[in-house]
């Protein structure tokens, strides 16, 4: 009699494809996954607990470190929640600056995803191309706020720094540059037979499952659910711009891949319009009290981050520090579907599916 044994395999916490210190315990039969148990918390820094001792301006740098690939949107969700609570008017110029950096950030974030995803699939070059182009955005941010990754750029009521002279023109030049690059990427990767064979039909789920698991972002839209908070619950100035929400219906990794590429295209459209309409003058900070003390109450603010719906739930008791601050982190919520998707898949597909969900472990663990 042939006797086979199940193999218990620890993927992570140190593993090249878990994108950080994330661990999955796999029960393998050969290379087929029988059971997958994600284990996290290795990067848990207690942001929510720390925030209870800090005033709102001091919390902003902590949001940078949650989803460190998309720090600008994290900044925004916090200041947006506080502004909602205090009904603060943000000057138009500041709001434009925010919108431009958020869309640049979305492009940068998707580029990181694109590069690392292909690296997971085994192609090395796209990673370097993506990082080269992301570098242009990072340089723009660096010029704006002196940081490359953790920007600490937004403030309650506005933004910390106005655009330096010529900065807006650089953003304007970036749009056609990136479009040209995207075409190159498409030629290099999107039609590659091996790549398509690896991702088509892998990690499939339907709209009902996606909604039940609370997925958001491209993970939800790949099943055909038209849910982009920029359109559905507009915040900032998104109502002023003309852009589409790309949708697809197959719900597999290939669709998520195409959606994210298409979202870069749409972000570039928004950027193009935002740069054209950018006000020539105006303040970058609204009228904000010296000490930010939101009135007692609670608020849940949410925006569309590159990874999905990022939310910020604040309970205030009228003090300068939040009584309770809770972040709804899209990576954390989206990741829940992973064990469901993995059962019956091969070890290789684990990487394809995990990469396709697009997580940032700093955000999963918070």
């Amino acid at each position: 009699m042939i006797r086979t044994e199940e193999l218990l395999l620890n993927v992570g916490p140190q593993h090249p494809s878990t994108h950080g210190v994330f661990r999955i315990v796999l029960k393998l039969d050969g290379e087929v996954i029988k059971e997958a148990t994600p284990v996290m918390g290795y990067l848990h820094r207690g942001t929510e607990k720390l925030a209870e001792q800090l005033n709102y301006t001091q919390i902003i740098p902590y949001t940078d470190r949650m989803d460190y690939v998309s720090a600008m949107t994290n900044n925004y969700v916090l200041v947006h929640a506080v502004e909602k609570m205090m009904s603060i008017e943000v000057p138009e110029r500041a709001e434009f600056m925010r919108l431009i950096v958020m869309e640049l950030q979305r492009v940068a974030s998707h580029l990181v995803w694109w590069g690392t995803y292909l690296l997971d699939i085994g192609a090395m070059s796209p990673f370097l191309y993506a990082f080269r182009d992301r570098e242009v955005i990072i340089d723009l941010f660096n010029e704006l706020c002196g940081a490359r990754l953790t920007y600490n750029y937004m403030r309650v009521g506005g933004v910390k720094w106005d655009a330096p002279s010529g900065w807006i023109d650089k953003v304007r030049d970036f749009v056609p540059y990136m479009r040209k690059r995207l075409k190159e990427y498409d030629k290099l990767v999107s039609g590659n037979e091996i790549f398509l064979a690896r991702i088509k039909g892998v990690g499939k789920y339907d709209a009902q499952t996606a909604i039940a698991y609370g997925l958001s972002g491209a993970n939800l839209r790949c099943t055909g659910v038209n849910w982009d908070l920029r359109k559905q619950e507009p915040y900032s100035l998104y109502e002023r711009f003309d852009f589409d929400v790309p949708l697809s219906f197959n719900g597999d990794c290939y669709d998520r891949y195409l959606l994210r590429i298409e979202e870069i295209v749409q972000s570039l459209r928004i950027l193009e319009q935002a740069v054209e309409q950018f006000p020539s003058g105006g303040e970058t900070m609204g009228k904000v009290p010296r000490v930010i003390r939101p009135p007692a109450g609670e608020v849940y603010a949410r925006i569309e981050s590159p990874r999905g719906e990022i939310g910020c739930y604040i309970v205030s008791k009228g003090k300068a520090e939040p009584y309770r601050l809770k972040f709804r982190r899209p990576s954390f919520v989206n990741l829940q579907i992973l064990p469901e998707l993995l059962v019956g898949q091969s070890m290789t597909n684990l990487i394809t599916i995990l990469g396709g969900v697009d997580i940032v472990v700093g955000e999963v663990d918070c």
Partner: protein, 197 residues
């Protein structure tokens, strides 16, 4: 989601916009909201409370307010004992059909603990925040994971950081802190100068 295009739609910007239009027609998750005259947030909330009192129990809803700053978000406080029935009601009721649990947060209120659920219906786009309070000693709130699978890890997080038990949860373990951690860090009386730190 009945009509699925045969080809994968997203290849170029122009195509995608066509598909977006197509989806507006096909997608039953986005339907036009019919605005009625008496459909103010307060009127809707009152109606909801009435229905809940009628369908669940007289004392099911402890408090119902409109959260003005949060875009007139109807906010109700449901009694712990009636929460599971109310959650199910909110999920299946035609008016609300809250199929999407967008946020689940635990709060330490000092003398008691509470869990706040932010629900939304992707079909009617109605939103609601539900508070469920529980006592500080041996806190427990029925799990909604069977209704919304997304509550799974969120409840584990609340259990881990606030120590609220969720009976009915399939796999209630610590998620952020190590398994042998003592105490629940997000509680206000938690001593951060723990020996392990």
């Amino acid at each position: 989601m009945s009509d699925k295009p045969e080809e994968t739609p997203i290849t170029h910007a122009t195509e995608s916009s066509e598909h977006a239009e197509q989806v507006e027609q096909d997608n039953d998750y986005v339907t036009e909201r019919t605005e009625q005259v008496e459909d103010t947030p307060q009127a809707r909330l009152d109606r909801l409370v009435e229905q809940l009192k009628h369908d669940i129990a007289e004392g099911a809803v402890e408090e119902a307010v409109i959260n003005e700053v949060n875009g007139h978000l109807p906010t109700i406080t449901v009694k712990k004992g009636h929460w599971l029935a109310a959650a199910h009601w909110l999920q299946v009721n035609k008016d609300w059909s809250c199929d999407y649990l967008r946020n689940l947060a635990g709060v330490d209120l000092g003398d008691e603990l509470e869990v706040v659920y932010h629900l939304i219906s992707l079909q009617t786009r109605r939103e609601i925040a539900v508070h469920v309070k529980t006592e500080r000693e041996q806190p427990s709130i029925p799990s909604v994971t069977p209704l919304w699978p997304t509550a799974n890890w969120n409840e584990r997080e609340v259990y881990d950081l606030l120590g609220i038990d969720f009976p009915g949860h399939p796999d209630l373990r610590r998620i952020m802190m190590p398994d042998d951690w003592v105490g629940h860090p997000l509680r206000k009386d938690y001593d951060p100068s723990d020996s392990e730190v």
